[in-house]
């Protein structure tokens, strides 16, 4: 790695540190495992972070603090209030700003001696190879399958290491892909799960500390690759269960038949990853079900008029605690076995957070013979916008 880092540089490798840098990095310099040689390797290294969110936050902070000479930050997103619970690079005053730029400002303040480039763009098959070319190591901190396969394939095509981390609720995974002697992401998972089979909605969410831990593991692996020391996670999948506070590791083997890194490679260029993953776009959910709808304003008017309406809330109990509009709680997942609790002779308005789960509920109930049933259009979010702004959004 060390020689690669230096030969890939456009400008000659830096061979000394300033007096200020020596002071800044003194806790590295006095460790024989890093020392002056290692610190110069860090200074000459160029690392590209894909995503500046939950995983990207500790990654950016620790790599900048450690003195990685050039950091690239790729993100097209804008900071919003729901990010602050875990994306610790950002402060409240950053809400509304572009993430890549807000992160660049924060990391420059942390370490003005390094070069930070922000790329306010979505990583695509059209720009990935060009973006990756100027960097030695790519760190995958994205949050969706299409981008993960894209990062993997671009790394394999260019022969660059891919420091991988991903999280789900209380569980994390980390490893290093893309080294010549190790496996790639496709060796582990030849295909992504179809969109309908991955849990969503009510099962979503993440404990804020988890990306901090997994992103820190990625930062450590990145630094080890740069220093060329220690045992890297190449060929090992680290599994972290935060609730049980358990780390386990599994062996990852290079698949000889891998279409990307196997002997008989069948993929020679970047493809359409949204098509590959069965989604047209990152935020394209399944086509909306055609069910009868009622708007929040209509519902409010009818309730005010005293109409006999049964408001059915199909969210989860913990969501009901966040906010509710006095509906009767019956989570979507329990509907099939509790359907007898509902009176099909009454007029029912089903709602959830945004209207998607309740559309499924309405569809299910119509098939079960319910006729007087509507879906609250836009869910409790629209209710907050159109009827009662005191209802919090989440």
């Amino acid at each position: 790695m060390a020689t690669k880092t230096q030969t890939l540089n456009d400008k000659p490798a830096v061979t000394s540190l300033s007096k200020e840098e020596i002071l800044r990095y003194s806790r590295h310099l006095i460790m024989p495992e890093v020392g002056m040689e290692g610190q110069l390797k860090l200074k000459n290294a160029k690392v590209l972070l894909i995503g500046t969110g939950g995983l990207g936050a500790p990654l950016g902070l620790y790599l900048a603090a450690a003195g990685v000479g050039k950091l690239g930050l790729v993100d097209f997103d804008v900071v919003d209030f729901t990010n602050l619970q875990r994306q610790v690079t950002f402060g409240t005053s950053d809400v509304g700003k572009h993430k890549s730029e807000a992160a660049r400002a924060r990391l420059s303040n942390l370490n003005p001696d390094i070069e930070i480039q922000s790329f306010e763009t979505q990583l695509t098959s059209a720009n990935a190879l060009e973006l990756f070319r100027d960097f030695d190591i790519i760190v995958d901190g994205t949050d969706n399958f299409p981008t993960r396969y894209l990062v993997n394939d671009a790394c394999i095509l260019l022969g660059k290491p891919n420091v991988y981390g991903s999280i789900f609720r209380f569980e994390g995974q980390a490893t290093v892909f893309g080294m010549t002697d190790g496996p790639c992401y496709r060796c582990l998972y030849p295909e992504p799960p179809p969109p309908g089979l991955v849990p969503s909605c009510a099962e979503g969410g993440v404990l804020g500390v988890l990306p901090g831990i997994v992103g820190s593991i990625q930062a450590m692996e990145t630094i080890k690759l740069i220093l060329g020391s220690g045992d890297s996670l190449v060929g090992r999948l680290l599994l972290f269960d935060a609730l049980g506070m358990k780390f386990r590791e599994l062996k990852l083997r290079k698949n000889p038949d891998c279409p990307m890194c196997g002997k008989n490679r069948t993929i020679h260029q970047l493809i359409d990853y949204y098509e590959f993953c069965g989604v047209r776009g990152e935020e394209a959910p399944a086509p909306d079900l055609q069910v009868p709808e009622i708007t929040p304003r209509e519902l409010k008017a009818r309730l005010d008029r005293g109409d006999d309406l049964y408001v059915l809330d199909v969210r989860e109990p913990h969501e009901y605690q966040i906010c509710n509009i006095n509906g009767h709680l019956l989570p979507l997942g329990e509907l099939p076995r509790r359907v007898h609790e509902l009176d099909s002779s009454r007029e029912i308005v089903a709602h959830c957070r945004s209207g998607k789960r309740s559309a499924e509920a309405v569809d299910f109930l119509r098939k079960a013979g319910f006729r007087k049933i509507h879906n609250l259009k836009g869910g409790i979010l629209a209710w907050s916008d159109e009827v009662d702004p005191s209802v919090p959004k989440y």
Binding site: G53, G165, F168, Y189, P193, G205, D241, L250
Partner: protein, 102 residues
């Protein structure tokens, strides 16, 4: 043989929120069969309609990938641990993909 099957977070919702299950089995395939006998909802998330393990679900016996052993016919012994390791993509989580759709 008494075997422990570890259920990953994304699939616990289909397994009465349990993180593992004890089953009696001679092979990895039987262990998974024992698991889906206990939790029927898990079946479609692990197997295709014709009974094959789904390609995005990896199964490990202790720390080895069963694809590099005898796949589902891999024999198990008392005290072995079978892990189901599905692909997860979260990195920032809940920001776009998960909650917004709900």
């Amino acid at each position: 043989m008494a075997v422990k099957v570890i259920i990953p977070t994304p699939l616990r919702v289909y397994a009465a929120k349990k993180d593992s299950a004890e089953v009696s089995a001679r092979t990895v395939g039987e262990a998974l069969g024992g698991l889906t006998a206990q939790f029927a909802e898990l079946r479609k998330h692990l197997f295709t309609d014709d009974g094959k393990l789904r390609s995005f679900v990896n199964v490990y016996l202790n720390d080895e990938d069963i694809r590099y052993m005898a796949k589902e016919a891999t024999p198990v012994k008392d005290g072995d641990v079978v892990s189901i390791v599905p692909s997860i993509a979260g990195g920032s989580a809940a920001s776009n993909n998960e909650i917004v759709e709900g």
